[in-house]
Symmetry: C4
Subunit: 212 residues, 4 copies
């Protein structure tokens, strides 16, 4: 709408979408703790054993927290480059928020069934969902960096070092989660370990653009 | 209050109400996931069947997520046009936030009973609540765009293209949800499908004003 | 700290406290819906009766939502007048956020026991808690408007019309909730009705200062 | 990235991290109330007794609320001094948010078992977790105030009074929580009381820098 056009209006618009997205990320990441259950009516030794037995819950919590945190970081970086938001980007961003909001559910499944008979099934659902998130995120980025939008949605040149660095970083993102998904057919623990390792890997500092 | 008068104070005031509203929208949309329940103590094949049987929960989740998301988008557009907030607008906005905050409850009802004996009852409650939301939103918009308020609450001319476009878009909003409500007497699935289709329809890009 | 002194730093400081407080208000008001319980495993007619029987939950939800909403509005007005936040105001604001965050618990008590044997007990806890909130809010306001702080915390003259109007509006606030509390000894319904009426009353537009 | 460099971009960057962190703090502090359970199906006298018996829940709630609140205050003060955020600070901040988000779980453990056989175990977990939070916070501060980062991350001189005052205030923070942890081997109540006293102590106004 013309009222919110111009560089000032666009910046405010982008800021509000960032703020709403941040809210959803912050809530999803904080709600994860509600999936940890307190064992009831136990003696001290019974409680100690029950808490130790809950370790799959802690592992699922940590990997999901780290993954949502990394996704926030990437989202934050991406929106730092975005100057203008169009309708399709709003919808793609909404899809990404949907995939993030869902995370507590596969996390809870994993916490309940890791180490049990259905462990590989839930590890497959869990890592498969991360494939969906990574694909959605890649789609959002590809759209934002596409030369088709005129004027461009990014505030930096599409062939500049920042954009090239992000392209390089995201190229194999979904593939790595496919590796985790495939691993779930072999071993639930392996799949979760791959997801955890990916979160640690993506938490490493980004390689600075060459001209920096 | 005089201290917050003037264009600068009004803008800050509007921004804070937007921020609070965004918080409520973000929380309501993210809390929806808590309604998905993890089946307990099952074997792998039992869990797979139980998760497939939960499909009404997933449908209810998706439709509610999309609907709250669309409502946020519309709220966001509307407040992009608002320059000044008066007391009645604050109260109307509070009523809208109330209707949005309630959504997890009919969603949970739908997730529990869709496909059961009480399916049409819960689909009626669900789509009926969407009628209430649509009416509240229309009331908020009508009040904001009313020529009675002096100085006007909008930053654009009341007979300009943006306002006319929104009037056109919202004219039939509540009616469509009445269609979903009526459909619930025939079939719960039909009512939910209409609600989902409406969310997709309202997610389409708005028709640009003619002079743009 | 000197780094955040000066009018600019003070304003940023105040804005961040408002934003954090808004977050707590928005979350507390949206979490209320989690207290509504979905009856399980019923036929259509059984579910209809069970939902009608849950009316105390809906009443408790509405009164609590309206009360937190009104408290947000008042908090928002108050902080619109505040220029500078000192340590004691931070602590008083934290106490107010504590009282607001607790509201879902007495609301849930009321929803569970209104209409039962323990109705007057829970209505007493509920309205008694509102007395605590009103007293905390009054304390926050009294401190902010006290002439003892130099430089003053408010951006308007302490003897000006805005301050006098707020003094007048809050003078009897806690007392009204004491009336609701006393009423709970007679009838739980009466106490809840008084709380609801107070929320509606405080939702009326503030009387403009005479010189406006 | 060069696009967000310069004093303006750095400030916006810092503001967004503060906002996301505030969101997580606000949600964690407000979720605590969900751990309070409503006793069901009791007479008035039974309910009164059950609510009185729940006092460990109230104590756990209050101490956790005060502790997260104080951590927010400290986080807020620290970020008021930060001019620039680098990748490692982002990760350290993420670790701090992780430790804060976890708090509802040990709080719930404490609420369930304080006064029972497993009281000392849960008080040890609870105060031990506060040691972890205090260490993470100290690590974040030490990194931010380290002379190794060039240009410095703080906006004030590293040997100035503000930084020295914070160094002094945080020097013994983790140690005090170690005292609470050790106390848990003697008495669960003592450990919780120490944690509560520490929250009150850290809520006292900071000693102003000498030159102020």
């Amino acid at each position: 709408m013309s009222a919110s056009h111009g560089p000032h209006g666009d910046e405010k618009e982008t800021a509000r979408i960032e703020a709403f997205s941040d809210g959803v990320f912050a809530i999803a990441i904080t709600l994860l703790i509600l999936e940890l259950r307190v064992p009831h009516d136990l003696t001290a030794s019974g409680l100690r054993a029950a808490l130790v037995d809950e370790w799959p819950s802690y592992a699922a919590y940590l990997v999901s927290f780290a993954t949502i945190g990394i996704m926030w970081l990437n989202h934050h970086r991406l929106f730092g480059l975005i100057r203008r938001v169009d309708h399709a980007l709003l919808i793609l961003n909404g899809l990404l928020l949907l995939t993030i909001s869902v995370v507590p559910f596969p996390t809870s499944l994993l916490a309940s069934y890791l180490g049990h008979d259905a462990g590989r099934l839930v590890a497959g659902i869990y890592s498969g969902w991360f494939v969906v998130i990574a694909l959605t995120f890649t789609g959002l980025w590809r759209y934002a960096a596409s030369p088709v939008q005129q004027p461009p949605l990014l505030r930096v040149p599409l062939d500049g070092p920042e954009v090239r660095a992000i392209h390089a970083a995201y190229r194999f993102g979904p593939l790595w989660y496919v590796v985790a998904f495939v691993a779930s057919f072999l071993s639930a623990f392996l799949a979760v370990a791959v997801c955890g390792a990916l979160a640690l890997f993506f938490a490493l500092p980004p390689k600075p653009p060459a001209d920096r």
